[in-house]
Each structure stands twice: as structure tokens, then as C-alpha cells.
């Protein structure tokens, strides 16, 4: 059984049909949030220790995110949460009616960090829509680009955005006793990172001055230098095109790239050792930290890094080329693997706007996907983006994000989902450096200055703030070694004289073509759903990892991933009065998702000429 909630069943041959005798199979009931809000209002009025605590904006995240909580500071509990994407992104509207060849360049601007993956996903959608199969070297170079992008992205998050939360500067302010303990706690992996105590690590996690902070800045440079050798520039590459890449590649370029990639071998070992030590210290010091950011391991991922001998870009073969990826796509529900089939992942994905500043749309253009699997009206190929700015209300609409579900369940996304699914599924094709065991992912890292060895990420028993970040640390050696494997394969092709990097294509002037690109951003799940009508873009829908993670309530009232994780977070911070409260446990939980609210773009506010180009503060005072 693939779906429990959607009205679709599969027979033994895998053919899908709609469940019979259901009058409106995709109909759902919208649950009112009024009762919950009335109850909170009453609690707030009666109890002085229950407070509205707003983080607006949430800092050290990319883009515009605000977060509202109602916290019981006496009992150290969170009673209610609302995640707010405070800006309208609007690419879906910008792209409509344009030449499809513009999509990769324009959609790349959706993010100032992971523009490269947007360009790639756009190229994949075009390849599917137009039947373009890139040559093997084109596929490998794309893999190289995207693994390098992760080598830029993960250190950036771990040390510049999330890292300060675990620094001496923050921990002495929020949990001074914990820092005292850190002074006397030996670091288990001193041989990997050189720090003898946890406090010494925390000191170098200090923002601006800490050595780990500045080293991460340097490593982002190394990754950028490697990226631009093929991509031309970063974060918005010029050479990612449907059908491969548009770049001249030779042995010299490859050698220059290797010079950069190999610097991540030792860095990977160091990063893994540091975060294993820091997170083990927190979890061993106070077992309640296990509850911080907890939610069931219910997540999905697209899989990444195509096999050049399997990938053909078609929807028909998407199940096969998806499973052949170096990271396995799929869906986990409460830690159990539900599917690794990209077609089923696609068919189960829906977006809802009941608590968002959008109007519902009418009509359903596609009742099934190209493989005959039924699709609902809320599937991205059927979705229309109709902005409807309005009054913010916790009872009604409060976000520019939408509620994303798979089989009607909110799903989490992240680099960690890539590890979790690959480790669990054991479908990873043979690899020189990576092995999936069903409960862990083993990564062989070669000797460099530090000794080589096998590093093993284990699927954790509890899914929480710390485990998200720990898995992200292991995503660095994972990405580095996939990068290395692809580099070796690309070198072999070059030696054989196979230098073709792209496949030419033309866009039909008539008819309708449909495609979807699936590839993970540094922050996980990313999809672009594309419809071409008579040679121009008829519909374009982008779902980013933060679209999933920052989602507001579903129509039936289930919280989005940030909302759920914070709701489960105990308040472990030391504070004497509400004025001292910093909310560090809440912020750590939100930041553990690596929020990226793509907003550093030019956005027009409805009914005005006002443009917004950077983070905004949305005062939550007085919102009910």
C-alpha cells in the first residue's frame, strides 16, 4: 500500500486507479482554527506567565521568516506555533508566458544560496517535457556542480547560521551551567579536530572571531572556486542548460577542480568530529534536549546525482533513474520507508492554500500523470498561483507559504533526508565510496593530512534538532565522496575522448508538453513542475524545501514541520524573568531545518508599486 489517505490504489503490477464508489475522491474537510485560538486567548488573559513570543524576523536564516509562539514560561512549554513566510515569491507568475529557455536563468534567482540547483531542476523539467537526453559527461558534470554546491551550502549553515547557537557566546548567555560543564568535558574526537574540550570547540564556534566560523568562510570560497570552473559563476550559473552543460571541459579544468575537492576530505573529518562531540555533549548533559525540535521522521526527498548510464530524463523511466541515483529518492513516514519511486512521490504531492495568502483555483487540467497515476486538483501540474494579500490571522490566513503534503501528510525536507532515505532503502547502486546498510550510511574518506577511514552515520532513534544538524555534518563527506566518484568517472570519459557535454534541442511551437524536475537543494527537496503550451510556459510551479518545512497548517489543522517541531520543544534555557528569555531552544529548532525563504528578489506588493528586496519585519503585535 503506497497511499493511506489519497484515493488511489495500485494493483500487483503497479498500475494505479482511483478508488471506486467515492463521489468526490479528492474532497477534504477544512477544520476551523477558531476554537484553538479562542482557548489560547482565554489562557493568555488568565495567566500572566503565558506569553506571546514572536521571532520576527528569525535571524540567521536566509530570507524572510517570522515565527509566532504562545509559550507557558512557568511550565516551560510551547502551547501554540505559527510559521510565517513573510514575502510573496512570485516566480510562478514571472515565468508564465515566457520562452521555456529562460526558466533556468530566471528561476535560479529564486535563491541567493542555491541558485544552481534551481537552474538544474529547471533544466531537468525541460528535458522531460521535450525528450532531451544529456550525454554522459553532461550528467557527470551536473553531478559535480551540485555536489560542490552542497560543499558550499552545508558548512555555511553549520558554522555561519546554526553554529553560533552552540557557541560560547550564546551558551554562556542562555545556559551558563552547561558551558561550565563543557569546560571540564573532554572532546571524544580530538584526533579529528584538535580540540581537547567541548568548551574549546564552543569558543571557536563564536561568530566573527571563532576559528571554525572563519574557516567555514574560507571553505565556502574553496567550493565556489571549484563550482565556477564549470558553472561560470556562483550562485547563478551561466552554463546549466537543458541537455547538459554549456562549458568547455578538459583535463586542466578537472585537475583544478580536484585541487579544490580534495580539501574537503580532511575538512569533512573535522566537521563530523566537531558536531558529533558538540551534539553528544548536549544530549548527554540533559536528556530533555532529545525533545527539542522533535517530530516523527516523516520526510521526503527527491534523490540526487544521476547515473549517466541510466538517466534519460523521461517520466516513463523516472522510477528507474530515480532509484539509480547516488542518493535514493522517496518518502519516510515516522521513520518507515513508504516508497522510493519518484512517480509515486510525484503523484502523492499536493499543495493547499487555506491558511495562505492565495485564492483557491478552479479546475483540474490533468486527471492523471503521463504514467496513468491519478492526480488530484491540488497537484502542482493542476495548481494556479493566485496571490490574495490580506489581513494576517492565526484563525485564518497567515503565510505566503502554502501547505505541502504527500498523501495528505506534512513532510519535512532537508539534506538529512538524503542520508536517511539512502541509508534506510538500501537501493544505492554500487559505489566506490558509499554504502547503505539499512540502518546507516558508510562513507569512505581517503587519507589526506588526516588518516583515511570509514565514517558511519547512523539513523537516530529520535528525530530532533541535534540529529538534523548531525546528519547535515555527515552530508559534507557524503557530498565530497560522490563528487570524487563523479570526478573519476568524468576523467575516464575524457580519457576515452567522450567530450560531448550537451544535447541540442528545439522547442515545438505547437502543442502541450509536461515535465517535472526533481533534485535536492542544499536544504533538500526541490521540484519545478512545468507545462509548455504552444512554445511558451503555460504553468510553472516551484516547491522548495522551505515551502515544505515552513508550511502553515494543513486544511485539516495539522501543523507544518517548523510548527510541529517547535510545539514539541521544551524550554531548557535558564532565565530569571520573561524579559531575559531569549528563546534559544526554539531558535535552535527552527534553524536545524536550515530555513531558506527565497526572498532576496524583487517582489511587488499587490495594489502598490512597493518593491521589497530584503528581509522585512512583519509586526505580529495584535494579530489574532
Amino acid at each position: 500500500m503506497c497511499f493511506k489517505n489519497l484515493p488511489v490504489e495500485f494493483d500487483q503490477q503497479g498500475n494505479a486507479t482511483l478508488l471506486k464508489n467515492i463521489p468526490n475522491p479528492y474532497e477534504y474537510e477544512t477544520v476551523s482554527l477558531e476554537g484553538e485560538q479562542d482557548k489560547l486567548k482565554e489562557l493568555l488573559a488568565r495567566n500572566g506567565f503565558i506569553k506571546n513570543v514572536d521571532f520576527d524576523p528569525v535571524t540567521r536564516v536566509a530570507g524572510a521568516l517570522a515565527f509566532h509562539t504562545v509559550a507557558d514560561l512557568e511550565n516551560r512549554k510551547i502551547l501554540s506555533t505559527n510559521s510565517m513566510a513573510t514575502l510573496f515569491r512570485g516566480y510562478e507568475i514571472i515565468l508564465r508566458g515566457r520562452d521555456p529557455r529562460d526558466a533556468a536563468y530566471i528561476s535560479s534567482r529564486a535563491c541567493g544560496v542555491c541558485g544552481g540547483v534551481h537552474a538544474t531542476v529547471s533544466a531537468l523539467a525541460m528535458e522531460m517535457a521535450l525528450g532531451i537526453k544529456p550525454p554522459p559527461l553532461g550528467v557527470l558534470l551536473r553531478n559535480l556542480l551540485l555536489s560542490i554546491e552542497y560543499l558550499y551550502d552545508h558548512p555555511l549553515h553549520l558554522f555561519l547560521l546554526a553554529g553560533p547557537d552552540y557557541s560560547e557566546q550564546i551558551v554562556t548567555m542562555t545556559n551558563p551551567g552547561l558551558f561550565e560543564k563543557a569546560r571540564n568535558t573532554s572532546a571524544k574526537h580530538e584526533d579529528m579536530h584538535g580540540y581537547s574540550t567541548i568548551a574549546a570547540i564552543m569558543k571557536d564556534l563564536n561568530p566573527l572571531s571563532g576559528k571554525l566560523y572563519t574557516e567555514a568562510l574560507h571553505m565556502t570560497r574553496v567550493a565556489r572556486e571549484a563550482y565556477v570552473l564549470i558553472g561560470g559563476k556562483y550562485p547563478h550559473p551561466q552554463s546549466v542548460v537543458p541537455g547538459g552543460v554549456a562549458a568547455t571541459i578538459n583535463i586542466s579544468v578537472m585537475n583544478e577542480m580536484y585541487e579544490r575537492i580534495q580539501q574537503f576530505f580532511d575538512y569533512s573529518k573535522k566537521v563530523v568530529g566537531i558536531w558529533d562531540d558538540v551534539f553528544d555533549f548536549f544530549l548527554e548533559s540533559n536528556p530533555d534536549y532529545e525533545k527539542c525540535g522533535f517530530r516523527p521522521a516523516t520526510m521526503m526527498d527527491t534523490g540526487v546525482w544521476d547515473r549517466p548510464d541510466v538517466y534519460d530524463g523521461t517520466y516513463e523511466n523516472m522510477t528507474d533513474w530515480g532509484k539509480a541515483r547516488w542518493a535514493t529518492p522517496g518518502v519516510l513516514v515516522d521513520g518507515e520507508l513508504v516508497t522510493t519511486d519518484l512517480q509515486r512521490l510525484n503523484a502523492g504531492y499536493e499543495e493547499f492554500v487555506e491558511h495562505s495568502f492565495y485564492e483557491n483555483w478552479n479546475g483540474q487540467r490533468f486527471s492523471e500523470d503521463p504514467a496513468g497515476i491519478p492526480l488530484g486538483p491540488n497537484h502542482p501540474w493542476n495548481k494556479e498561483t493566485i496571490p490574495k494579500p490580506g489581513k494576517q490571522s492565526w484563525r485564518d490566513r497567515y503565510s505566503w507559504d502554502v501547505s505541502c503534503t504527500w498523501d495528505r501528510m506534512p513532510m519535512e525536507a532537508g539534506a538529512y533526508a538524503r542520508l536517511y532515505l539512502t541509508a534506510k532503502a538500501q537501493e544505492l547502486p554500487e559505489s566506490k565510496f558509499i554504502r547503505s546498510t539499512g540502518h546507516s550510511l558508510q562513507i569512505d574518506i581517503p587519507k589526506s593530512t588526516l588518516p583515511g577511514g570509514t565514517f558511519e552515520w547512523h539513523i537516530p532513534e529520535t528525530w530532533n534538532t541535534f540529529e538534523r544538524n548531525r546528519a547535515r555534518a555527515y552530508a559534507i563527506p557524503y557530498s565530497a565522496m560522490v563528487c570524487m566518484e563523479n570526478w573519476m568517472m568524468a576523467m575516464e570519459l575524457l580519457r576515452q575522448g567522450e567530450t560531448k557535454v550537451s544535447t541540442p534541442f528545439e522547442i515545438p511551437k505547437k502543442g502541450t508538453q509536461v515535465g517535472v524536475g526533481y533534485w535536492g537543494a542544499g536544504r533538500g527537496f526541490l521540484s519545478h513542475h512545468l507545462i509548455i503550451d504552444d512554445g511558451v510556459i503555460g504553468n510553472y510551479q516551484i516547491s522548495t524545501p522551505s515551502t515544505l518545512n515552513a508550511a502553515p497548517r494543513t486544511p485539516w489543522g495539522a501543523p507544518g514541520p517548523y510548527e510541529e517541531a517547535v510545539l514539541n520543544t521544551p524550554i531548557l534555557e535558564d532565565f530569571k524573568s520573561p524579559d531575559d528569555f531569549k528563546g534559544i531552544d526554539i531558535l535552535r529548532s527552527i534553524r536545524s531545518f536550515d530555513p531558506c525563504m527565497p526572498c532576496t528578489t524583487h517582489i511587488m506588493m499587490d495594489g502598490t508599486d512597493k518593491m521589497v528586496t530584503r528581509e522585512v519585519t512583519t509586526c505580529a503585535c495584535g494579530i489574532e
Binding site: T59, R60, V61, A62, G63, C111, G112, V113, G115, L156, L160, L161, P164, P207, L208, L217, H218, T220, R221, R224, K233, Y234, P235, C596, T600, H602, M604, D609, K610, M611, V612, T613, R614, E615
Partner: protein, 178 residues
Amino acid sequence: MRRVLIGAVGYLNLRDYSIGPVLLSQLRKTRWPSGVLLDELNWGPIAIVQQFQSLPDPYDRIIILTARPCGRPAGTVTLRNWVGGLPDEANIQSRISEAVTGVISADNLLIIGEHFNIWPEEVFVVDVEPGKEEMGETFTPEVEAVTGDVLSVIRELAVNNSSVLPEFEGMTGNELLI
């Protein structure tokens, strides 16, 4: 040889807010003495810091052209001399977080550059008060009217020795708060 960099900061297609990159393309069309270089400085303050740190010969003078909304009448051109000074650490850190996640801002560039000590003695900021922030490829009439002056000012700054330049009001990092 004196090395001068004329750098433009700003998003494209944002009318007056794009004055930096738009005028840069006009500046590129004119002949410059050797040692005067032109570049976009839109590619991330951290990346710019790292590039400056690796230059074999540092610049002697930097001229930054940008739009900065400061509540003046649209089209007001202000020329100031960056004299350093930094906001508090939390503010610098916010700038870095914005920088690594893609925000384009001359203020961030100035502060992050100052924090990492990349600026030469002479850094001039030519900033224009933009009109409304709106999408488009053309300037408002107020800003269009001053583009000639802006180009002249940039030229003067780029080619003249400091001895012949007037004293400019100083600009410090403390005043650039998000």
C-alpha cells in the same frame, strides 16, 4: 601605478535602485587611464573580501556607486568618504548572514569589508537617493536628470589625485543600521 576600482552595487531591473549596474555599463564605454578598473560588486561581500585579500597589488582607491534610500529628495547625489567604524558585533553578523544568503547591499559590503580590513585609505561612496522602489529598466525623471552629474563625479574621483579633491563628509559603519 595607482590602482583605482570603480565598483557598482545594486539589483538590476529595479529602476533607480539599479543606478550602480546601469551606469557601470555606460562607464565601461569611456576610455580610462591605465590603472582604473571597473567591476560589478554585486557578487557577494564575502566573495569580494576573499578576492581582495588575494590580490597581489591592493587597490589604492575604491569608488562605490550605488542607490541608498535615506529620505532625501529623489535624485540627490551625495559623495562621502568612508572613514570606517563598525556597528556592534550582532549587526556585523547579521550583515554576514545576509551576505552569504544572497542579499545585495552596499551597506553590507562596506561593513563586511571594514570588518575584514580590506579597504584602502581612500574609499568614496557616490550614492543617489532613489525614487520609489519599483520594477523597471528606466530611471525616474529625477534620477535620470542627475546621471550626467554622477558620471562626471565618478570620473573626477577616478582620475584626480587626492590633493585636488575637496574634503568630503565622512561616512561610518555606525550609521548604517539595518
